[in-house]
């Protein structure tokens, strides 16, 4: 009984460790904002979403992305039904709180454990039936491989016949007519190897026994006041029920773990739905991205937007159209606060969401899968910093280098700005050069004019130079235009703005 909504061939694994660069990536791309919108106050959804995006900053798998996009299409087509299904699973999981057994309060007595497990499973089985009924209703209209597999699996494994079998077992397990155990003789002729039986055979009546037409049996009764005897008897029953009580307790664990897995896998899509509805409500253009394999150097988008900015501003921000097919480097220079960092972030977040199998915040998007997403951003001055800021930047770069591979996406925001322009330029060029030679795509924002000039001067045409626009009156359009770097960055404009003309 598998869910397989997130992966075509395996379960969601909550215990996967984060890729080493994740902490920086999450901070630099402001993923927290995204997660909060996905979770909508459900800490479980926050957890699942964080997990999936964390995995997304590693290498992407085309089959997984396609699988999820298919599922997402179904989800976006049937949002209310998916939310209802998710709510049903949550209700199933919460139902165990009504049972002592469900809260983990089992004890040393198998007969008590068995009773508790039977009751809990009775409740669970009813939820399984309701799930199956939902599958019946939805199976026809969901087209993705993911959901089709889920529904057909539910229909096959929780058929009416199965439900009847389970009910019959749950009834037998109440042992209303006594417990039947078989045993052998061990050391000192003590009983050993107890085996429980369902006692299904017809019991011969007293007449048959009288006429010796039935196999021999001998009965005795404990006297009413025999407490020691009653205790001995109940311990005997406990020994006999030990294994089946264990099996039933484990069965409740199995079913519960199935519900929890289903919750995680459905939960991710509910979180995507939350985000989609939020962003769409703000007027942000969204689409399911097309993608090619790593190394195709594809990157082309219409109205690409930074979704975290949208969530913060609570309106659709200015988007950018990018034509970077065949480019191994995209370099952005230009006016302060002109939208450069925002652009960088929109590229990074889109790549993450693509890897995660989600939609992206653009009206159209065709990209490529990467072997990992890496960020190297300028950090704030830290009074407690040991060594210089440059030391810290170089150390971070060294750590990143350990994980960089061909096909990675490297995002740099004002790297090496902590030293003078000449040195900084040299450092930056060396890094960028090396990465590009190793077939790593670089997208960067910089004020280092020297570096920018040399990047733009390359004859092979593999670099795209973009500039943050500054209008005549000094205001920003927040759009990037194609163009070489300009010498100054118009700090004068800002100064005037802040200090008054």
């Amino acid at each position: 009984m598998k869910a397989h909504l997130l992966f075509p061939d395996r379960d969601y694994d909550a215990k996967l460790t984060a890729p080493p660069q994740w902490a920086d990536v999450a901070q630099d791309l402001e993923i927290q904002t995204l997660l909060v919108a996905m979770a909508q106050d459900d800490p479980f959804l926050l957890d699942v979403s964080a997990h999936v995006l964390m995995a997304a900053c590693g290498a992407a798998d085309a089959e997984v992305v396609a699988h999820r996009q298919g599922a997402l299409r179904d989800v976006l087509d049937h949002p209310e039904q998916v939310r209802a299904l998710y709510a049903l699973v949550v209700e199933a999981i919460d139902s165990r709180k009504k049972h002592l057994f469900g809260l983990g309060l089992f004890g040393r007595y198998p007969s008590f454990n068995l009773r508790g497990a039977v009751e809990l499973l009775q409740t669970f089985v009813q939820f399984l039936q309701r799930l199956r009924q939902q599958a019946d209703v939805l199976a026809g209209s969901f087209r993705s491989a993911a959901f089709s597999t889920l529904f057909s699996s539910l229909q096959r494994d929780i058929s009416d016949a199965y439900f009847d079998t389970v009910q019959s077992h749950l009834e037998t397990l109440r042992f209303r007519h006594g417990v039947l155990l078989s045993a052998g003789l061990g050391a000192g002729n003590a009983a050993r190897d107890y085996v429980l039986h369902a006692d299904a055979a017809e019991r011969p009546g007293w007449l048959a026994r009288l006429l010796h037409k039935a196999p021999p049996e001998f009965t005795f009764r404990l006297p009413d006041r025999d407490e020691a005897g009653a205790q001995a008897l109940s311990e005997l029953v406990d020994r006999g029920l030990n294994d089946v009580a264990n099996a039933m307790a484990q069965a409740t664990d199995h079913v519960l773990s199935f519900f929890e897995l289903l919750r995680a896998e459905l939960g991710f899509y509910v979180a995507c739905l939350n985000l989609y509805q939020r962003l769409a409500g703000l007027g942000v253009g969204l689409c399911l991205p097309a993608f090619e394999r790593s190394g195709s150097w594809r990157l082309s988008a219409e109205e690409l937007v930074d979704p975290t900015l949208a969530l913060t501003l609570e309106r659709a921000p200015v988007g950018n159209s990018v034509r970077a097919d065949g480019k191994t480097l995209v370099a952005v220079t230009g006016a302060n606060q002109g939208g450069k960092s925002t652009f960088l972030r929109s590229v990074g977040v889109a790549q993450l969401m693509l890897h995660a199998g989600m939609f992206v915040a653009a009206r159209g998007y065709t990209g490529e899968l990467a072997s990992g997403v890496f960020t190297h951003y300028k950090r704030e001055e830290d009074a407690a910093m040991q060594g210089g800021k440059l030391d810290e930047e170089l150390a971070r770069m060294r750590d990143l280098a350990a994980g960089l591979r061909r096909g990675a996406l490297f995002l740099s925001n004002e790297s090496f700005a902590s030293t003078n322009e000449r040195e900084g330029s040299e450092l930056l060029l060396q890094v960028v050069d090396a990465l590009r030679q190793r077939a790593i795509k670089v997208v960067l924002v910089t004020h280092l004019f020297d570096a920018a000039r040399r990047m733009g001067a390359e004859p092979d045409g593999k670099a795209l130079m973009l500039r943050a626009e500054r209008r005549e009156d000094g205001s920003r359009s927040f759009r990037l235009v194609v163009g070489a770097a300009l010498q100054t960055s118009f700090g004068a404009d800002l100064y005037a703005q802040v200090f008054g003309a």
């Binding site: 379960d11 454990n113 037998t172 039947l180 045993a183 085996v195 196999p215 294994d243 099996a247």
Partner: protein, 553 residues
């Protein structure tokens, strides 16, 4: 010319000699046992630390402390057995052998048992008999007759298998001692006997048949019904199967652990009684077996089990010494004086303490060869003199028990009696009484000692003046010289070291650089006449000159 009195006792190669009937593993025959008379050696054991050695080696058989009242009381059912064995061991330990044949008998048995495979087999044999005793106890204590009968059968089986296993091990090992060869023959005889064969067969058949039985019990409220196995499938498996489809991974084990019960309670007993009604044939056989085979364990086998401890515990203790790098050997024994020669010997009790404290053990030689009869040991206090005397005594006594001794090699006297006269701590006001006691004890020794005796004296006559002590000591030494016993005399009276032609002088040595440091090496050398006390005083700055300098006029 073969003089049996001077020929050292070697162990003969046993091949070719017909094994004699097995009697015991510590005595070749009943007559040999009757001839060995235990002695009252409490004082000797105290002086030579032999009691401490016994208590350490045979610690397992000493009575256990009662647990504190707050510890759940557990009945110690093996206690009577251990007490029996302790008695046997104590008796053996205080019976130094006079007959070289018995010494050889035991040494050979011990030598064989040093083979690891045979030692393991002996230990397993002991464990098996312990199990048998446990089964017999449960057979006795059982409230339900059928339960008791079953334990009895298990006891018979355990016993039979123990005999087989030990016999097999003896066959496989290369045993050469008269003792073990006799055991092997005895076991073969037992195992071959009709009685044992039939009994074992019946027991095995019973256990097999009972093991194959299956019955069923239905419990409905207070009604318990015993019936034949319904041959229905295992319902637990069906349940597990039904829910297997939801399994995602490993889950907890919720099974309850049940404590092993001490016996059947009365409900189980009633069920068992009815199971017997379902299968009357087997259970009748069981009851009959119990009636017919009481007293199945053979006396000599039971005795072997008890006496094995004598060797096994000794081996264990001496192997610990070997592992610490100390030598252990089989001594050669003679009944003639003038052949005592031990190399790298040490005090076993002291060695155990030093090993525990991870300190080194000093090894010493001693000898009384040819005409030599008395070693006079002098030297600094606490320099190892008394230890040497103890070592001499320990080696001799343990050799006379047929055991290995704490030395690299040893040729020793098989004495008729061993006397010790060690200083007793006395009341300081009773000076005259102490001297009198010393003399009375000495008088008894001189009366009973022969030219085959060993006499050990430690710091006697220390409660009187030096002149008196010298005078008395010389008289005593004269008497001992006439008797011809082997003696060790530890004393501070250096003058005695050159008493007569039979006297050997040994001296405790000190460190060459710092005379206040003892080496614990005692060597053959003329007495020093040095006063070590002065060197010590100098070290602490309290010689006369030093004091005169320190104290102002």
């Amino acid at each position: 010319m073969n003089d049996p009195a001077t020929t050292p006792l070697e162990s003969p190669r046993a091949s070719g000699s017909a094994p004699t009937a097995f009697y015991s593993i510590v005595y070749p025959s009943a007559q040999h046992e009757a001839a060995a008379v235990p002695q009252d050696l409490a004082a000797v054991f105290h002086d030579l630390f032999l009691q401490s050695i016994f208590d350490t080696v045979y610690a397992n058989f000493l009575p256990r402390e009662q647990p504190a009242y707050f510890v759940a009381s557990r009945s110690d059912d093996e206690a009577p057995y251990r007490a029996e064995v302790l008695q046997i061991l104590q008796s053996l330990f205080r019976t130094p052998l006079q007959d070289p044949d018995v010494v050889r008998y035991r040494q050979d048995a011990l030598r064989d048992l040093q083979q690891p495979a045979l030692l393991r087999a002996a230990q397993r044999f002991q464990q098996a008999l312990r199990d048998m005793r446990e089964h017999l106890r449960r057979a006795d204590k059982a409230y339900n007759a059928i339960e008791g009968q079953r334990w009895f059968v298990d006891a018979v089986l355990t016993y039979g298998h123990a005999l087989q296993a030990l016999h097999q091990a003896l066959d496989a090992a290369e045993v050469q001692s008269q003792a073990w060869l006799a055991v092997r023959a005895h076991l073969a005889q037992l195992l071959d006997s009709d009685a044992q064969r039939v009994r074992l067969q019946q027991a095995q058949a019973l256990v097999d048949d009972l093991g194959r039985l299956r019955y069923a019990v239905r419990i409905d409220g207070t009604a318990v019904t015993v019936l034949r196995d319904p041959a229905e499938p295992d319902y637990t498996a069906i349940i597990a199967d039904t829910f297997a489809r939801f399994r995602q991974g490993e889950v907890k084990d919720y099974r309850t652990q049940f404590a092993a019960p001490a016996g059947l309670n009365h409900v189980e007993g009633q069920i068992l009684d009815r199971v017997a009604l379902l299968f009357p044939e087997v259970f009748d056989r069981l009851a009959r077996f119990r009636r017919e085979h009481d007293g199945f364990a053979e006396d000599r086998v039971l005795r072997l089990d008890r006496e094995l401890a004598w060797y096994v515990s000794w081996l264990d203790a001496t192997q610990r010494l070997s592992r610490a790098g100390l030598p252990v050997c089989f001594p050669r024994l003679t009944t003639q004086q003038g052949q005592i020669d031990a190399r790298d010997a040490y005090d076993m009790a002291l060695a155990r303490q030093r090993i525990d404290a991870q300190q080194p053990v000093v090894l010493n030689d001693f000898a009384l060869l040819g005409q030599e009869r008395m070693i006079v040991v002098t030297g600094p206090n606490h320099g190892g003199k008394t230890t040497l005397a103890r070592t001499f005594g320990q080696l001799h006594h343990l050799a006379a028990l047929g055991l290995t001794v704490a030395a690299r090699s040893a040729s020793l006297l098989l004495f008729d009696r061993l006397f010790t006269h060690f200083e007793r701590v006395e009341d300081i006001h009773n000076q005259r009484g102490k001297l009198q006691d010393d003399l009375v004890r000495m008088h008894h020794i001189l009366r009973d000692a022969t030219d085959r005796s060993v006499v050990l004296m430690n710091e006697i006559f220390s409660s009187t003046t030096i002149d008196d002590a010298l005078w008395l000591a010389r008289r005593i030494m004269q008497r001992l010289s006439e008797i011809g016993a082997a003696c060790v005399f530890v004393t501070f009276l250096d003058e005695l070291a050159t008493f007569d032609a039979h006297t050997v002088s040994m001296v405790g040595t000190v460190d060459a650089d710092d005379p206040t440091i003892r080496t614990f090496k005692v060597v053959r050398r003329a007495a020093d006449g040095k006063s070590y006390a002065l060197a010590l005083a100098r070290k602490f700055g309290v010689t006369r000159e030093q004091l005169l300098e320190r104290i102002p006029v």
